[in-house]
């Protein structure tokens, strides 16, 4: 737990929950971005958050929050920022302030192995699983009314392997690939539907904090820390993508 001395003098207007600490949240159910293994919270988002905090001279304090309520919790002062693969959308931007994107991610359709679904056009009227309050929810609504909501992408993907429960899951490509490489009997369909831009989210009034975080992001990209973390989890640099000809989700 983290008790609440708000506004501290030292960090000026950064309005941190705890002095000298950057408390940032992810769902913890989004392997390989945020997950818990052996009691430790880890993953790409968690390490990026740590690097950002250190760059800002703060102690990193990663926490988890169920995705459905993560924005409510941010606005309710439960933590300082979301560093949890939250993509920039217009609707979210009305409530929170976003940093620059910190990676690009493809929204991808996954189906059970051997499914007849060949592409997005086959999704018409099918049962699609997504995480509630995710960008994939809106995407799925374009294809079908039969949407099942989950609190974890991984659990949704697992349900794909249960015959008759789901026809497809829409989630981030990397999340699906991670599941496939762990032996789950699912496969991707076609190319990413779009590319989205996950970014750090803070309360709109925390402008100073956001500026500091943007500065820190530039710095870790510059000094190679970012590439190192990305390499560790994905074997490549996530920022290293060709954005030609692909829709960028807003």
């Amino acid at each position: 737990g983290s008790g609440g001395s708000e506004n501290s003098g030292e960090e000026g207007g950064m309005n941190l929950l705890e002095d000298g600490k950057l408390t940032y949240a992810s769902s913890g159910l989004y392997k390989p971005f945020s997950f818990e293994e052996g009691g430790d919270l880890q993953g790409f988002d968690v390490e990026i958050g740590a690097a950002i905090a250190e760059e800002m001279g703060l102690e990193p304090n990663p926490v988890t929050s169920p995705w459905e309520t993560i924005i409510q919790s941010l606005l309710g002062n439960k933590f300082d920022a979301v560093i949890g693969s939250m993509s920039i959308t217009k609707e979210r931007a009305e409530r929170v302030a976003f940093s620059d994107p910190y990676y690009y991610s493809g929204g991808m359709i996954f189906v059970p192995e051997g499914s007849d679904i060949q592409g997005a056009e086959d999704l018409e009227g099918k049962r699609i699983g997504v995480v509630a309050q995710s960008t994939y929810d809106e995407a799925a609504q374009e294809y079908t009314d039969d949407i099942k909501y989950y609190n974890s992408d991984v659990v949704a993907l697992k349900d794909l392997t249960v015959e008759g429960r789901l026809d497809a899951v829409i989630t981030a490509d990397v999340v699906g690939f991670e599941a496939i490489s762990s032996g789950m009997a699912i496969q991707e369909v076609g190319e990413p539907l779009w590319v989205e831009q996950p970014a750090f989210a803070v309360r709109p009034e925390d402008e100073e904090l956001l500026a500091e975080m943007d500065k820190a992001l530039d710095a870790i990209i510059e000094n190679g820390t970012y590439a190192e973390i990305s390499e560790k989890y994905f074997g490549r640099d996530l920022l290293d993508v060709d954005l030609e000809g692909i829709t960028i989700l807003e």
Binding site: E68, T69, Q72, G76, G129, Q133, K148, R165
Partner: protein, 221 residues
């Protein structure tokens, strides 16, 4: 205050279509769970009071496990566990998990009611030449059933509220819909207040029906 009421009215209006639809699902899950739970409860209650040690043990294990673990764990376990055997969609998985959960509690209600019947009743019927079975069927059980009605009614209300937990396996009942609305609208306070009202009204209706029914039963005799 006026402003707050204004907001609340708006939230109620905005959420009504979705919430009412979800209410139907809540009631459906509850109904299936109750029917299944009552059947299971009856079977396990009879097992528990039977003379067979094996049947007693089976019933005890079932009841101990169900009463010893949280419902939400049972739901998750059943949803991911039962799939190895049969295919169930979320609605049925949720309703069945709730039903199995209820079964243990209802079994204890029936057993308690049966054992609460004065043992003079059994003795009197046996002294008249009835067998154990006849005595149970014609003398003990009818009285026990009547005595079970208030705690069963209570259990029904608990089930209605417990049905909120199947949201976790993506059944779009009241709480699931409220969650989505709270996140979308960024009005969690108002949304949860309204969905709480929905449950409260449902519970009060349920309670009123029960009171009326209990009253009728008492007048009958």
């Amino acid at each position: 205050m006026m402003e707050f009421l204004q907001t609340m009215l708006e939230v109620i209006k905005r959420t009504a279509p979705g919430f009412l639809e979800a209410t139907v699902l809540t009631l459906q899950v509850t109904a299936v769970a109750l029917v299944l739970g009552t059947l299971l409860g009856l079977v396990f209650a009879l097992m528990k009071i039977s003379k067979s040690k094996i049947l007693q043990t089976i019933a005890n294990i079932y009841i101990t496990i169900i009463r010893g673990t949280p419902l939400i764990v049972q739901i998750m376990f059943l949803y991911f566990g039962i799939t190895a055997v049969i295919i169930l969609d979320a609605f049925w998985a949720g309703a069945i998990a709730l039903g199995i959960h209820n079964g243990a509690y209802i079994a204890e209600i029936f057993r308690g009611a049966i054992q609460s019947i004065d043992k003079g009743q059994r003795e009197a019927s046996m002294a008249l030449g009835m067998t154990r079975g006849q005595s149970m069927k014609r003398i003990i059980f009818p009285q026990a059933l009547k005595r079970s009605i208030p705690p069963l009614g209570n259990q029904f209300i608990i089930t209605l509220k417990d049905s909120s937990l199947v949201y976790i396996i993506s059944v779009s009942e009241l709480f699931a819909v409220a969650n989505r609305d709270a996140a979308q609208s960024y009005q969690p306070f108002e949304t949860y207040l309204v969905v709480g009202l929905y449950y409260l009204v449902l519970v009060m209706i349920f309670t009123a029906i029960l009171r009326w029914y209990e009253g009728r039963l008492n007048v009958d005799k």
